[in-house]
Amino acid sequence: MSSKTHYYVEAEVVSNIIETSRVNTLVLKLGQHMEVKPGQFLMVWRPGDGEIPITPSLTNGETICLTIERVGLTSSRLASLKAGERVFLRGPYGNGFNLEYPGKYLLVGGGTGAASLTPAYLKLVEKGVQTLFLVGGRNRDNLVYVNKLRELNANIRIATDDGSVGFHGTLPEFFKKIIAESFFENVLTIGPEKMMVKIAEECHRNGIRCQVSLVRIVKCGIGFCGSCVLDPVGLRVCVDGPVFNAEEILGTDFGAYMRDEAGRRVEVTL
């Protein structure tokens, strides 16, 4: 029986890579082996700075990459860490993606989503599955992880809202176009919720199996505080998710409402 005095796994920042003006990738060396399945998340703690859930953007047991957007205090602090500084990780938590479904996979990543989808991409490659990766952002300077994906030989297509590179338009618009050109049995998507819900609806209309990774306020991470719930179905993002089959959650608060820190039902804005 483990006594778990080692509540967290210590990790040291090896390097901090600037992705965009708002997004950085931390390359971490782990003090202890950690196995994370694609789509699972970690709770990342810096004493004094808070703790947030992050889905790693690369992982091999000894090294882990976290791609973090500065949206508030904790994420900004983490995104600014220098080599040699330390973070503390607990997890992995959640279910991760189901990559056993047959057929081709279309990966759709908005914002840091492209980074968080990368471990799934690598796993699919390893399995010899055919993939296409759609990456979107507001403009050329807002694209995350594209260089890394190129380095990993991913088959990438880009969309920008302003057309500064790739398709001129939103990811859901681009997505429509892509699936009109060639059929994919599976879609995996991580990104702003308003974007994901549109992708999910499109999949629904086209009979495509779609898995989405949902963001809610994660506090405990282990399923007992109820903070991360998707209503009205009462699914907990931290243990029942964060990955859901879109069919399961279309028609719920997905894309429309979430709960804030106090548990108040508020509108989803992004």
Partner: protein, 307 residues
């Protein structure tokens, strides 16, 4: 013959003695509805609502210790007025008693909250035992006089069952519970979490942002059983047992100690089978009753006391 699992608790009829403890489902009425559809669940207690909305503490707010859990959520909740609207919607949709947990910091708040929430609830649980929130919970619940006053204030505005949830972090739980009963409480829920903390040796820092938190789960069961046993020896009101109940044996241990019903909290976080934990506990109790030749669960209550 299938043993009768029905219990009567301070006027409420529960199809099963297994309740959901306060807080472990958060404020989500969706989750409450989902759990209430489980035929093994007899009643649900809501997350504690306070007078004003609370965001709760910064993360880390909870960790798994292996032998239990440590949390200092900080009672996040939308406040009683906001939550009232959600509960109003929920109430027609569920078929089992809905007990609303309230955490007033003084008598006025207790009165106002009970008045407002009375029509949307089947009973109240007064949380005077949260070990990690200033001015709420334990700060109130360790003083018999304050307990008496707050209980009486709540009592004045509802004729529905009134449960008082007590803390193990006091010198005499019996004294606190007695004050509550004398002031009109119908039943006692025991126990809330044990005031505790953890320090990460690598980080060299307290893990919880609030430093102090409450220990729940397996580790506190022997404390909970002891307190239920003590209360049963001295009080004449029903007791609801809570603290580290993971399986049917744990539940039976509490019932033998004197609990008329039991609540499951942390264990829903470590149940492999997710929310099926309630069904597994019920099945185990039923088989135990059959093996012991008992025709109903009520015959088991307090049986460890007979000599």
């Amino acid at each position: 013959m299938h043993p009768d699992m029905k219990v009567e608790l301070a006027g409420l009829v529960l199809r099963s003695p297994i309740m959901v403890a306060s807080g472990v489902l958060g404020s989500s009425t969706g989750l409450i509805k989902r759990v209430s559809e489980n035929p093994s669940v007899g009643a649900v207690v809501t997350k504690t609502v306070t007078y004003n909305p609370r965001n709760g503490y910064e993360n880390p707010t909870a960790i798994d210790l292996g032998f239990g859990f440590l949390n200092a959520m900080g009672l996040p909740n939308p406040g009683y007025l906001d939550y009232k609207n959600e509960l109003a919607e929920l109430r027609d949709k569920i078929e089992i008693p809905l007990i609303v947990s309230i955490g007033p910091s003084n008598s006025e708040e207790a009165s106002e909250m009970v008045k407002a929430l009375n029509e949307v609830s089947d009973g109240f649980e007064l949380n005077l035992s949260c070990p990690h929130t200033e001015k709420l919970g334990l700060e109130v619940g360790s003083d018999p006089e304050k307990v008496r006053r707050i209980t009486a204030s709540a009592r004045k505005y509802t004729s529905k069952p009134l449960f008082i949830k007590v803390s193990p972090n006091v010198t005499s739980v019996v004294e606190i519970a007695r004050a509550a009963v004398e002031a009109g409480a119908d039943a006692i829920t025991a126990i809330n979490t044990l005031k505790s903390m953890a320090i990460d040796v690598n980080a060299m820092k307290p893990v919880l942002s609030n430093v102090y938190g409450g220990l729940s789960g397996r580790a506190i069961r022997p404390v909970g059983v002891r307190i239920v046993y003590e209360l049963y020896e001295t009080l004449r009101v029903p007791i609801v047992g809570c603290g580290g109940i993971y399986d049917w044996r744990d539940a039976v241990e509490f019932i033998l100690a004197g609990a008329s019903a039991i609540q499951v909290g942390s264990a829903i976080a470590c149940s492999r089978s997710g929310l099926n934990i309630f069904g597994e506990i019920e099945k185990g109790i039923v088989e135990y009753l059959v093996a012991k030749g008992l025709s109903n669960i009520r015959g088991l209550v307090g049986l460890a006391h007979t000599s």
